[in-house]
């Protein structure tokens, strides 16, 4: 089979903001030769029905993530700190708005 130039195109991760004040959320990925095309393709592929008012694209290879294999130990330190939650504390009966 003939080779296309496409295999050299980097992969981009697409993040969409659905409305004012909402966070950008991961929508999917795509291939594009540069950032400008990535943004345009992201609009055509992931926002054909006004799903976004703002789009971020990030080169996939630039994303650093935790690895699932050590997710347990990595997130452990947070699990035994119940004093980070309001229900850990008691206050005198009848006091409101605390």
């Amino acid at each position: 089979m003939t080779k296309t130039t496409e295999d050299q195109w980097p992969m981009w991760e697409v993040f969409l903001q659905s409305k004012q004040g909402a966070p950008h959320e991961h929508a999917g990925s795509l291939h594009a030769p540069d950032a400008e095309m990535a943004i345009q393709n992201a609009r055509d592929v992931y926002s054909r029905r006004n799903e976004a008012i703002s789009i971020w694209v990030v080169r996939s290879e630039d994303i650093i993530s935790t690895s699932p294999s050590d997710a347990g130990p990595f997130f452990d330190p947070a699990t035994d700190k119940i004093f980070r939650y309001p229900k850990f504390y008691s206050i005198p009966k009848g006091v409101r708005g605390v």
Partner: protein, 312 residues
């Protein structure tokens, strides 16, 4: 031994309904079956643009033309979501596309039937997208995160596909004698191939059994087919259209519509490449790929030029 322990853990995760993500450990068979299934699904979306694309320039009015154009564009998007989902499993899109163009990869047999009349565009939206929705609604709950999310996105778009198809069907069914005849003939041609879209019957479907074990599928081919028939028969009755099956009858006890024997020889003949349009579809796909080459090359040249300007 390590792997056996991991496999047991993996199966527990599936049992608990957890979703599997790209970097998670997974058995080789799980990965293999997913790549096969997701890439076939992606190819089906892409090849699926051809039978309908054939009618865009001949749509009877502007409203129909805009709808059809938007639908076919959606299918391209579906292909892309699915190729991306497959890529998270470590295969690159280039090799999947090469497998499609070289004839090595399979796609849904339904797209190897010709669209002879405008009525076929209505019937495809109604029956073919209708069947796809039943299937994809299940796949939106599949155990593999990226595949399930891609299907969720697809399902949100599919409802318009089915509805615009049914609108065409209803319009023709309430039209002149010639229009009624055209729509009924189209339904007669598409009904059985649509039922075949769910794949072989359970006892002849080893892949389906394995995919069920991995929670990629959660209903069997036969169950999905039955759901589709139960959903579709009343829709046909509503517009006085019949299906070409003398054995189709309602079973009061089970509450299901029973239907006749599917011609599996035809199904396997088409899958193996001997359907009415297999060759034309592949030629059209190859031509589109070649015709688009200059666009890809131009985009790349432009990106390179900009990068050079930026660096200097």
């Amino acid at each position: 031994m390590e792997d056996e322990k991991k496999l047991a853990e993996f199966q527990t995760r599936l049992k608990n309904g957890e979703s599997i993500e790209p970097k998670d450990w997974m058995p080789e068979r799980y990965r293999k079956q997913l790549v096969r299934m997701i890439s076939q699904h992606a190819h089906s979306e892409i090849v699926g643009m051809l039978p309908e694309g054939n009618w865009i320039t001949r749509a009877p009015n502007l409203r129909r033309k805009m709808a059809l154009l938007a639908k076919v564009q959606d299918e391209a998007g579906h292909g892309l979501y699915l190729y991306s989902a497959a890529e998270t499993l470590g295969v690159d899109r280039e090799s999947m596309i090469n497998d499609l163009l070289s004839g090595k990869a399979k796609y849904s047999s339904i797209f190897n039937y010709p669209t002879l009349t405008w009525a076929d565009i209505g019937v495809i939206g109604w029956l073919v997208d209708g069947a796809a929705i039943v299937n994809q609604t299940m796949l939106a709950k599949s155990s593999y995160g990226p595949y399930s999310r891609a299907n969720l996105r697809i399902c949100r778009e599919e409802n318009f596909h089915k509805k615009q198809g049914y609108e065409i069907v209803a319009t023709l069914a309430n039209g002149t004698d010639a229009q009624r005849k055209m729509i009924q003939e189209s339904v007669n041609r598409w009904w059985w191939p649509s039922l075949m879209m769910f794949g072989p019957t359970d006892k002849d479907s080893p892949n389906s059994a394995e995919l069920t074990k991995w929670k990629v599928k959660i209903h069997s081919n036969d169950d999905l087919r039955q759901r589709f028939v139960d959903l579709t028969v009343p829709q046909a009755k509503a517009v006085n259209i019949t299906f070409p099956d003398p054995d189709l009858k309602f079973n009061e006890e089970t509450g299901h519509w029973e239907f006749g024997e599917i011609d599996w020889n035809e199904f396997y003949r088409v899958i193996k490449g001997y359907g009415p349009m297999n060759r034309e579809r592949m030629n059209a796909r190859k031509k589109a790929h070649e015709d688009g080459r200059w666009v890809r090359e131009a985009a790349e040249a432009y990106a390179k030029k900009k990068k050079v300007l930026h660096e200097n």
